[in-house]
Symmetry: C2
DNA sequence: CAATGATATATAGCTTGCTATGCAAATGGG
DNA sequence: CCCATTTGCATAGCAAGCTATATATCATTG
């Protein structure tokens, strides 16, 4: 009775909810990044995928799924759009008929510098008035929240 | 030349990118919240909208757009799904033929306590090993990044 | 070697975002 | 009062998430 009364009275303030703020922040990051890379013909998830492939070309879809921590179906659809847009090619893997190696096209390789510069600019815009220490703290806290939710 | 060489060599590490971490963190928050409120028949954006309406019933769509900071089209679609699911009713506004007042159904009112409890549990899961001070710091840093990107 | 189980992708269907448009109702200036 | 502008919503169309399911290939094991 007292307990239920307490719960009912205990307002949930979205401004004080980490989840609410995380959602809003991520949308603003994505929107800002999208504006910056749109002239390059890229969308945010395509950029994230390119980050992994610029680092190591020829990965299998399953490896991209691991590195970017998205569901397999999400990655499959993103790769289909990237193939459509001339960013990647899916090449058969001679050792395993199930998997394919994802290879960058010359166009995708050429986008590396302008696209990473755009992403850096967006991060900088978000953290403009943060000190170096605050930036480190912020990244560390986000990593801890991610680990806690990821279960590791 | 030196500058271009520097840029090319300057790898972009997603693990050190605030935007990348923000995206991953927000997805984990949304996924965890969704699992917790799915038994109630709710999805995350519906819950966010309910938060505003539990606070003040009968708001116009335009007011919800302001409070939740999403695009008008996004809110219109979310409200359509909520109406379909029996969470809200759109009632004509006698003072302005363009707008409608969004009213909660009894079902939506009854979900307040269990749904906010679920959201609190998700926030707690994410911040389980944070001290009180770290929680305050984290929220403050997210608010500052949001303000910086929002342009205010 | 055949059957079983595991792995790699694909596809269907849904929610939540966004931009871009369209339209009707309200408002404000001449 | 009338026209132009503004405001409030709806809709179309797309990207990117997710879950659930299907399919084909590999691997294991009896």
């Amino acid at each position: 009775m007292l307990f239920n009364g307490y719960l009912s009275a205990m307002a949930f303030h979205k401004e004080r909810s980490a989840g609410f703020l995380a959602n809003q922040m991520a949308r603003l990051f994505a929107k800002g990044l999208h504006e910056r890379i749109r002239p390059l013909g890229l969308a945010p998830a395509q950029f994230m995928t390119l980050l992994a492939l610029w680092d190591e070309d020829g990965l299998a879809q399953s490896e991209l799924v691991q590195r970017l921590d998205v569901e397999q179906a999400t990655m499959a659809n993103t790769l289909t759009r990237m193939e459509r847009d001339g960013l990647i090619e899916r090449r058969a893997n001679p050792d395993d008929g199930r998997s394919q190696a994802i290879h960058l096209t010359p166009r995708a390789k050429a986008l590396r510098d302008p696209a990473t510069a755009a992403a850096r600019a967006q991060n900088e815009a978000a953290l403009a008035d943060f000190t170096d220490e605050e930036r480190q703290t912020f990244l560390a806290l986000m990593r801890r929240a991610i680990s806690a939710m990821h279960g590791d």
